[in-house]
């Protein structure tokens, strides 16, 4: 078991100088602190010391120095060229080691490993080898990780990483090396067995060529698979970019909609304005004249009462009589008749009054106009109100349009179509690659068959010629051994994969709240993830953040279970972030079981769930607290929580 005995950090980011000496026993160690106090940077310090990388993102507020500058800000103010040092002191069952990395600005970092010999620390000549033996870089992400990034375990291209990781943790790598070595010996043995036998020799040559082709094809296939993975990664980037522009696309659509709406509103406003203008020019005169009209009305009424308004029939009647040459008494008269003169005189008297007839009509018109004026007022007020509403709506739209224009200034819309085209090209490439992988697969199978056939032929020929018997025996033995090893390797890989599937599913079920939902979780031969949800395959991209994270955690646990490094300490940042309350509970429940045989260092916010958990489940001497350094503004100190 590898145990951390001491961690010492000096001048690294938020840590001016901290030292912790955890109990060298398995179990949980908890570090709590508020945001921005450097929890992630503690992990970065460890990663930096061991692998010279700082993979954990820090919040901007926390990061008071530029990313590339790891020197503590407070120290930098006093001394620009101060040394940054991180030391990790670990022990495995037999030895004690100290990993030390240090750097002074502008220089390369120095990495040293010391072994305790008696009471002295002795420098180890190849520090990387010791590190790989104890805490291999390729497995880093399985023992130093952040809860926030856990859900990204299953991002594009994860299959390859997972496969490599699993192969490494299950020691298949060692077996692979043995198989490779055996294969080169086998080739020699084959040559020996076929020596002095031209027919066999040529067959061996062909067989070797075929085998080489298989290896080449496999390599090509791997390469193409890697390319596909890269393309998939790019696809994700493009999709995100596309999403970004999607926003602009929506804005464009919204702007067009506003334009259309504005045109509609304007035509509505026009209609209303025209109606108002029509009413104003058409009806206003009557309103202005209201007084005069009322006066006329009373005049007419008066005239009517006093009989001064003769009915118009009289004038028309006289006209009719004159026209037809008829006297009032009905007698025919000529134009020269006296009666005609009388009629003409009468007409002269009555005719001016004939227009008075229309005055009677006027009386009614005036009444109705005055009556209608209240309607006119109502209509006008309504129209004006309506127009006000419309104008306000239009103004709102105008304002929104202006805002959109402002936002759109920052967009380059041509890029949207570029990205869309690039995405289409990508899809085509991926499809193309898949076809090539299939084609290579065919070639490999064809070669394998031919190679097997040749094997048979060679053996038959050997029996016939009976030469090099000893060499043939050795070759046969090696051949069998090789086949057995390859078979064993396949079995181990298969078992590891099954174990990974089984454990992942088991831990997932333990953590996940809705166990009914998921029927089966398994890894395919290519380490692709297969999740069946009530009988339906679900693409991994459709996991929610919480689900993805739980799945990531489950996989981590499963890998730790099957790895030869299952006793490596785990550093786990923000385990509870992005988890729902129920999963948090479940997670805290299983947390003590996570570490039956190793140290687990948890870095968490001091939220209520965690404090409660600490109270009930963690021994007092295993809880630490990150606090702002009272003396240095940009620094953090670490104390015992119960001190």
């Amino acid at each position: 078991m590898i145990q951390v005995k001491r961690i010492y950090i000096k001048n690294f980011k938020r840590f001016r100088e901290v030292e912790i000496k955890p109990e060298a026993k398995p179990g949980l160690f908890i570090f709590i602190g508020k945001s921005y106090l450097g929890k992630s940077n503690f992990l970065n310090a460890i990663c930096w010391c061991l692998y010279e990388e700082t993979p954990f993102k820090q919040s901007i507020e926390e990061d008071s120095s530029p990313n590339d500058d790891i020197l503590n800000v407070d120290v930098a103010k006093e001394k620009e060229f101060a040394e940054v040092i991180v030391e990790i002191h670990v022990s495995d069952n037999n030895n004690e080691y100290k990993f030390v990395r240090s750097i002074i600005k502008t220089q390369d970092s120095k990495f040293n490993v010391y072994r305790l010999s008696g009471s002295d620390w002795k420098l180890v000549p190849n520090p990387e080898i010791i590190r790989e033996m104890l805490l291999p870089k390729s497995l880093r992400k399985y023992f130093i990780f952040a809860g926030e990034n856990l859900e990204r375990l299953y991002s594009a291209g994860f299959e390859k990483e997972l496969r490599e990781g699993v192969q490494k943790v299950s020691d298949i790598v060692v077996l692979d090396r043995a198989i490779d070595h055996l294969y080169s010996v086998l080739i020699e043995a084959r040559r020996d067995a076929g020596r002095d036998n031209p027919e066999i020799d040529s067959m061996i040559n062909i067989k070797e060529k075929l085998d080489l082709e298989i290896i080449e094809a496999k390599k090509k296939q791997e390469k193409i698979k890697d390319e596909v993975n890269d393309l998939k990664k790019i696809r994700i980037e493009y999709k995100e970019e596309q999403k970004k522009y999607e926003k602009y696309k929506n804005l464009f659509e919204r702007r067009d909609w506003i334009d259309r709406e504005t045109t509609k509103i304007e035509s509505m406003e026009d209609k209303i304005r025209n109606r108002i203008n029509y009413l104003l020019t058409e009806k206003t005169p009557f309103v202005y004249l209201r007084k005069a009209l009322e006066e006329l009305h009373s005049h007419i009424s008066h005239e009517e009462k006093t009989g001064k308004l003769p009915p118009d029939i009289e004038a028309d009647f006289i006209k009719e009589l004159i026209k037809n040459g008829i006297c009032i008494c009905g007698r025919k008269i000529s134009k020269s008749d006296k009666s005609t003169d009388i009629l003409n005189k009468l007409l002269l008297e009555y005719e001016p009054a004939s227009h008075r007839v229309s005055l009677l009509e006027d009386k009614y018109i005036i009444s109705s106009i005055i009556r209608d004026q209240s309607e006119l007022k109502k209509e006008l007020l309504n129209l004006i109100g309506e127009r006000g509403g419309i104008v306000a709506e239009k103004n709102d739209l105008d304002r929104e349009k202006k805002e959109i224009q402002e936002k759109l200034k920052n967009s380059n819309f041509t890029q949207v179509s570029n990205i869309e085209k690039a995405l289409e090209d990508l899809e085509n490439k991926i499809e193309d690659h898949s076809l090539r992988i299939g084609y290579l697969e065919e070639q490999i199978n064809r070669n394998k068959n031919q190679s097997n056939e040749l094997d048979d032929k060679i053996k038959k020929a050997e029996v016939m010629t009976k030469k090099n018997e000893k060499a043939i025996k050795i070759r046969n033995f090696l051949e069998d051994l090789y086949k057995s090893l390859v078979y064993v390797r396949e079995r181990i890989t298969d078992r590891v994969r099954r174990a990974l599937s089984f454990n992942t599913e088991k831990y997932f079920r333990e953590l996940f709240w809705d166990q009914e939902e998921f029927e089966k979780i398994e890894f395919t031969e290519d380490y692709g993830l297969n999740v069946k949800e009530r009988g339906i395959d679900r693409p991994k991209t459709e996991f929610s953040m919480g689900e993805g994270k739980v799945l990531g955690l489950a996989t981590m646990r499963a890998i730790a279970e099957i790895s030869g490094f299952s006793e490596v300490p785990i550093f786990f940042d923000a385990p509870l972030s992005n988890l729902g309350a129920e999963i948090k509970d479940n997670f805290l429940k299983i947390m003590p079981d996570l570490a039956p045989n190793k140290q687990i260092f948890i870095f968490s916010l001091d939220d209520n769930e965690m404090l409660e958990f600490i109270k009930t489940s963690i021994p007092k001497n295993r809880v630490y607290k990150l606090k702002k350094d009272p003396k240095n503004k940009h620094s953090t100190i670490i104390e015992k929580y119960y001190a």
């Binding site: 020019t281 206003t284 006027d362 007022k377 007020l381």
Partner: protein
């Protein structure tokens, strides 16, 4: 010329050319933003006549110019003309039988009204559309 305001008459009213050029054109200008913009000239002249009458502002036509009335005058408008003319000549009904005289009175008020409107909207720089006035008037009456 018929001597009465009958169904087809008048087709024109005659206002002072000067006033047409100076006032009427401004008022009906599409960019004027007043409620008269784009409306019929004849209609505006009749409205102006009522405003001239109410404000007792008459102006003789020195150089007459024809303003066509595109629509046949409604009964209401014929009544309106009679009302102005009768009030102007103290209810001497006989005046109504002389169409030319009737129109002359209307035209003189129209000139005066157009000048008033133009003065109100342009010379005094008031942005008041007639809308506010009319609502005020209506409010007073109702």
């Amino acid at each position: 010329m018929p001597n009465e305001i009958d169904e087809n008459y008048p087709q024109f009213i005659r206002i002072d050319e000067n006033i047409k050029d100076k006032c009427l054109k401004d008022l009906i200008d599409k960019n004027s933003g007043t409620c008269f913009s784009g409306q019929e000239q004849g209609q505006i002249c009749l409205l102006a006549a009522t405003i001239g009458f109410v404000n007792k502002k008459k102006k003789k036509t020195n150089k007459p110019t024809d303003i066509r009335l595109y629509r046949t005058l409604s009964k209401e408008y014929k009544m309106l003309i009679r009302a102005i003319v009768l009030a102007d000549c103290n209810y001497d009904y006989n005046v109504l039988s002389d169409g030319t005289k009737v129109l002359k009175i209307i035209e003189e008020y129209s000139n005066g009204g157009l000048q008033l409107l133009h003065e109100k909207i342009y010379d005094k720089g008031l942005d008041l559309s007639i809308e506010d006035d009319i609502i005020k008037l209506l409010n007073k009456i109702q």
